[in-house]
Amino acid sequence: MPQYIDILAPENEEQLELMVRRAISLGFGAVGIIGDFSGLPKGAFRVSIVRPRDIPQEARKIRSKTKLLFSSPKTLEESRRVTFSKLVDGVIASYDTSRPNFDYVCARQLKRNEGTLLVPVAWMIRKMLKDPHVIRNVRLEVRIALKAGLYPVIASMARNTREVVPPRLLISFGEFILDLKRDQAKSMVKDFPSYLISEERRIRTKGVALGEVQDSH
């Protein structure tokens, strides 16, 4: 059954425990954690972000240790290269660049791996108050992703307890800022991320990333 999923990026171990507890109390069923923490609390799973230049070497090393592997390309060329690799589960939307870095070709490449486009709410809010262009970029990328049949995901990417918010606020953010229908925005916080970490997807894409690892040997 789908449940609300959020992805957090705690600054330290103390924050980790508090943030996961708060997220669960707000109604999230599971929480993805970005960062190199030794142990994770109950209800949390590991998420990693690799730089485009670390793909495929570094990505191969950490692929088995992490449930979701994202990358944050800064140019369209990087984005094409990252999405071509089946090791990556998704890319982060262009929240910090002056132009979109994600086109239809990238979306189609990600689709083979049933990957996703991640919209980082906290990062985006920090940036958009200074540079409103990011809204236009991210909105365009989400539209491309939806058109290509990808499953975009909205996550808070909170770095402290202050930034952990109820799912309803993430849905409203998608609805208002990204011009989505409420059902679409809700799917991006609930159904799509649930599917992304589900056993069903793992089975469907089984061997895709493994094949790439074996080819290198």
């Binding site: 109604g27 709410v121 809010i125 409103p132 809204i135 930034e163």
Partner: protein
């Protein structure tokens, strides 16, 4: 002569229950400023709201159904940038229900 407005054309009200340990005027000004900012960033009209105080740092934001997403986004930005303790406790279509939501926060968050 009286005209009846069809129910589907009526603008339905929504009440958003908010906990914020600040004064009513501060909260009202902040939400208004954030709404104006968002309208400017996004290039849309300014959404209206009315703030009602329930005491004990609890407030009800009364707004139209079409403005709920904008007001909630403004509250989200306010939490990130202005008031770290601000919390949205629930949304309801009736004043009576909204007041109930304010009293029982934990169940509300799960429903939202």
């Amino acid at each position: 002569m009286k005209f009846r407005i069809p129910i589907e054309l009526k603008e339905r009200r929504r009440y958003i229950c908010v906990y914020a340990p600040v004064s009513k005027s501060d909260l009202s000004k902040t939400i208004e400023r954030r709404l104006k900012e968002l309208a400017g960033i996004k290039g849309c009209g300014i959404h209206r709201f009315t703030l009602l105080s329930l005491g004990d740092n609890l407030f009800l934001v009364k707004t139209a159904e079409t403005s709920v997403a904008a007001v909630l986004t403004a509250l989200l930005v306010s939490r990130y940038e202005d008031f770290p303790l601000l919390e949205v406790r629930g949304i309801s279509g009736t004043l009576r229900r909204a007041k109930e939501l304010c009293v029982v926060p934990s169940t509300v968050e799960r429903r939202s």
